[in-house]
Symmetry: C2
């Protein structure tokens, strides 16, 4: 069945997040098996899907430990039965009540990187929490600079003296892999990160502290051959992947599991464009910059045999307003598209796109709810 007819058969009338559940489950299984073979802890980041039902797919693969990026997200997953959660975001000390509520209910892990935060926790914390020291291994977003060993050791010593704060290990997000241009470059950055983390671990162990290592970015976890020296991985995006991940070599096109269905509202032969009901509030404004310098917000994609299929790289989304998306289409494609058709768009960044929807619709017509 052609893509538009298939999507119409699902009852779609407005912009809708479409999930290839078969592929998402394969992505989950593949990463879970990779972690199991390496004999390390798999603590997937649930900020990408933020769905209790998709969480169950991880449980099926034996996952019991997860990562989230806010206390409210942690609260949602606790309500859905999760008992061991790391909030992989520097502690927001204004939410001390939420921290204590969670720490009283589950095994809670938090991220710390400054004396100011440790002091605030010391004043407010009432229950044991696992504390990870966040390390900046080169991304320069958050974390202690990896080669400032004196400061890192001093913070661990300080942590060790505070009741309820249980130093667990060092954690990093190697976000620089998202700017890589090849699998080889991702592999290089992964090795560099691992080396930097192990140098800290050595120093802390020499000072008498046992110290786990946690790494988190999807590109590293997708590309790394083994995880020697690592204790846990926290990838998130891999559950859906997206055009950004494909472009840097972190996934194959057939691993993409999320797309957005959009009704066509205008066809413009004189410009070689179509316009869809599907804008920045349906795709997000995240862009890929093509080698030509043009910013692209997604590409048309087909449904093939009831699964997400071919991606039309000759049909990019080149402009987004709040609710309109403008798509350049080649003449042959344009002649086939009419007002009232529904097209499918493969997004640039699945995490930000998913965040804009209250639910996912699977290709077999099931609604998969998300956090609201």
């Amino acid at each position: 069945m052609p893509t538009s007819a298939f999507l119409q058969s699902l009852g779609i009338t407005r912009p809708t997040a479409i999930l290839d559940a078969v592929q998402a489950r394969q992505n989950i299984r593949h990463m879970a098996q990779k972690a199991a073979q390496a004999n390390i802890r798999f603590r997937p980041h649930f900020k990408t899907h933020q769905s209790a039902e998709i969480g169950q797919w991880f449980q099926t693969e034996g996952v019991t430990t997860i990562t989230v990026s806010s206390f409210s997200m942690a609260h949602y997953f606790v309500e859905h039965g999760w008992q061991d959660i790391t909030v992989a975001f520097p502690v927001n000390v204004r939410e001390m009540d939420a921290i204590n509520r969670l720490a009283s209910q589950i095994q809670l892990g938090v991220l710390v990187e400054s004396l100011a935060t440790i002091d605030a926790l010391q004043r407010g914390i009432q229950h044991p929490v696992q504390v990870w020291l966040e390390i900046d291994t080169g991304y320069h977003r958050t974390g202690l600079v990896w080669d400032d060993g004196d400061r890192i050791l001093s913070l661990v010593r300080h942590l060790d003296s505070v009741e309820h704060l249980e130093f667990t290990g060092i954690l990093t997000h190697t976000g620089q892999t998202y700017y890589a241009r090849s699998r080889a470059e991702i592999q290089y950055l992964y090795q560099e990160t691992t080396g930097r983390m192990q140098s800290i671990q050595d120093r802390l162990q020499q000072a008498g502290f046992s110290c786990q290592i946690s790494i988190g970015d999807t590109p590293s976890c997708a590309v790394a051959g083994s995880f020697a020296g690592i204790d846990e991985i926290r990838p998130g995006n891999f559950v859906f992947y997206d055009q950004m991940m494909y472009q840097i070599g972190a996934c194959r096109p057939d691993q993409l599991a999320l797309a957005v269905a959009c009704p066509v509202v205008g066809v413009y032969p004189e410009r070689g464009q179509i316009v869809v009901y599907g804008g920045a509030v349906h795709l997000s404004k995240e862009a890929l910059v093509e080698t030509s310098g043009r910013a692209v917000f997604g590409y048309l994609q087909e449904i093939e045999n009831g699964r997400l299929g071919r991606i039309a790289y000759d049909a990019p989304v080149i402009s987004l307003s709040q609710e309109h998306g403008i798509i350049d289409v080649p003449p042959a494609m344009e002649r086939k598209v009419t007002v009232g058709d529904i097209v499918l768009i493969s997004p640039v960044h699945s995490c930000l796109t998913a965040n804009l929807y209250p639910f996912y619709l699977t290709l077999t017509g099931e609604n998969i709810s998300r956090i609201r």
Copy 2:
């Protein structure tokens, strides 16, 4: 009271949309008075605020006609008592049920620009609707090209033959004003648009059709001195304005009515940066490109005398992840900021930012709900 203390006194612990209600109401009153003085219809676009309560502030100013950008948004405002609504988005023919339901309840206006859409309406429409022909006056997003008079006249003739479709006039969104670099350029584009719309109106009137003219962009409506020859205006963004509107000269800094409160989670003296809990899912990825070529996602702003105040253009948000925002800050400011403080960010595009929140918090601590 300093900004952080003031925001803490409001009980803020997480990223929160902050509304200067006094300023938003002044913005509403100012635009309503401008329309009244010009003796034209004011049909504000509610896609910016999407709030029943803010809608009431318009009612106080005598507004009874509104614009929205989707049938679901129309449905929300019908539920809150609005009876005359134009859906200023090319008709999505897949939502015929929604169109008929709305058309049976209220005075509904829709946008048409193609024979395909008219044919679909002809097959499905069961109640009278006002039809606006959308005209492309140079923005090249949607609409009939303004100088293709033959095609426009032919579509109006066709429309005229279809039961329930009541041709009302021509409508345009002069989106090119958002790329203007001065008030003079906005004024020029407004005059150009008006001239183009009037040339169509003349032709249609010569052919025996009465034809109103509706224009819609906030920059034109904010800058235009009078509205000679125009029948209605549909600005939306002006209720809050934003950094983009300020940069192009469409508003003054003191007219900005929306900002985002974000807890500080990291301070990095070695980089001259702070990191806040406030990322792409709290601000949107809409960026301004500064003359240096740097993309900026917002600027720090102060609270002064309980109102939105000074904007720190030396403290830009230079990077956003899903939940993290990185802000460059000058040394003097950085020395004053600590983990646990709450800072305020003036967003680049208030419509997209507002869309990410379930409610607004006013500076007097009131919750103003939004569509969910």
